[in-house]
């Protein structure tokens, strides 16, 4: 399997806090890769570094063989790597359908392309994806009026609308009703298998990540603690310590 995303020795400090310290890991093409770690261990910070939200203090990041360490958020997004936010972000004063329509990247991001009316094909795809995420009946509501869990699903549907090659999901199940979590896991697997999108998922819910991911990276105190299959991670002393002892 080829490595789609390769992170080598990435560090990030905020003033005195070392949020990431020389982290090296990679995400294979077509895989579902998980990332776990206690609160404040630097998971979201690593995502922010990958997508160019802030400059890193050291190390390098490549995506599909291309150096992206110094690129900025929109440029990296246009390469096909899309992230969702831990604190869900949608466009609250626009309807769900409009949220979907603006996510459609099929015609590019140039002004001329944007000035075309919204096509029937965009609309069809929006409806299909909203249906896939269980939001079809809500499609004409303002996104800001949706419940928190529904907004999370909408953000996921918007990410799919872009047709990314890799999705970075920051805690996709946080705030979702436990009875709906199984459905979400199923959807994530379908997205990965049917659409061939690589998933890199931060998750606190151990049941979810163990069922979902093929390999998992565990962070603690900003360092990469362990990497391996779910079974490796489950039985790793250091991981158990980080979660159960230590604190």
């Amino acid at each position: 399997m080829t490595e789609q995303l390769v992170i080598t020795g990435v560090s990030k400090r905020f003033g005195g806090i070392v949020a990431n310290e020389s982290i090296s890991l990679s995400v294979p093409q077509g895989s579902i890769t998980g990332m776990i770690g206690p609160n404040g261990s630097g998971k979201t910070t690593l995502f922010n570094s990958i997508v160019g939200h802030h400059p890193v203090d050291g190390g390098s990041i490549t995506f599909e063989g291309r150096e992206i360490t110094r690129l900025r958020v929109p440029q990296i997004a246009r390469l096909g790597m899309i992230r969702t936010f831990q604190q869900t972000r949608i466009f609250g004063k626009m309807t769900c359908m409009q949220n979907m329509a603006i996510s459609d990247a099929d015609h590019g991001y140039g002004l001329a392309a944007l000035l075309k009316p919204i096509s029937g094909e965009t609309r069809d795809r929006s409806e299909a994806l909203l249906d896939f995420c269980g939001l079809h009946s809500k499609r004409h509501l303002l996104a800001g009026d949706l419940s928190f869990g529904q907004q999370k699903l909408l953000e996921f549907a918007m990410a799919l609308m872009i047709r990314p090659r890799m999705l970075l999901l920051d805690e996709p199940t946080a705030g979702i009703n436990p009875t709906l979590i199984n459905g979400l896991i199923e959807r994530l697997i379908r997205v990965n298998q049917d659409l061939g999108i690589t998933l890199f998922v931060i998750e606190h819910n151990m049941r979810v990540i163990m069922n979902l991911a093929e390999n998992i990276h565990c962070l603690a105190y900003g360092k990469l603690l362990a990497s391996g299959t779910p079974d490796d991670i489950r039985n790793d002393e250091r991981v158990i310590d980080a979660y159960l002892g230590g604190h």
């Binding site: 997004a77 972000r89 004063k93 991001y109 944007l114 009946s137 303002l142 872009i162």
Partner: protein
Amino acid sequence: MNGRGQIILGIVIVAAALAAPLVFPAFRAQIAMLWIMVLFALTWDILGGQTGYNTFGNIIFFGTGMYAAAVFQRDGGFDYFPGLFIGMGLGAVISVVLAAVLGSMILRMRGHYFAIATLGLGIAAGEIASGWNFIGAGSGMSPPLFPGAPGVSYIFFGYLFFGLALITFLILAWVYRTRFGLALNAIRDNEDKAEAMGLKTDTYKIAAWMLAALFLGLCGGAAGNMLGFIDPRDTAFAGATFGVWMVLMAILGGKGTLWGPVLGAFVFHVTQEILWTHLLGWQRVALGLIIVGIVVFFPQGILGWARTRWPERFGHRVETP
């Protein structure tokens, strides 16, 4: 309001607008002024309402258009009408270029820093104009006299501004239906998210400002001619009157909507025409009170209020299969 309702309303307004100067000859000047107000509110709302970038500085483009046309008419050596139209075009071009240059400098700022920068630009423009001898400095400029009979000038400019307002409205109605319009709304709702999706937010913001500058530049060029006199601080770069009215009218009608600015301009202009002359000496006190009143008690505006009151009318419904 559905599509057909809007079209019927549109036809009624167009018919009324065409008839108005002939039916109410005594109010020709006010009617012409009304269309300028509509233009002000519509163009302000492109960035202020739809994109969430509140500006105090759009008046720069109005003033620039005004001076550019007047200078061209003075030095160009053309007859009145060719001079006027070429001058208006020149003013529009300069305004658009100015919007691109200034926009690429200050539209990268977020939120209120942008608002304050535009406030600074608007006042600086007025101050520079009143010190610059080439354009008459503090004593202003007088564009050439309208060649027709005195009353005809208001008919001509009334229809000119109406045509301009109508074109602006139609273009915006179209723009807001495209993904460009959605991109502006996305920037307003969450710019970080818009960037994270790959949108070229800076480009869109600058383009939106250039669009506003285009119509304001054209409007300013003609307005200078209609008013007959250009004062740097009181007509061209009149930040404390026109500049604030733009913001107020858009907010009053409901910012971020297509019809809101039009409605706001009507309500504001009519109220103002009725009250203003009675308030001599106290007009700015009244304006200050109006600003505070609207901002404190009615920030969502007429259409914003209607939208929360009757969401289904605006299409926000749950579909029951």
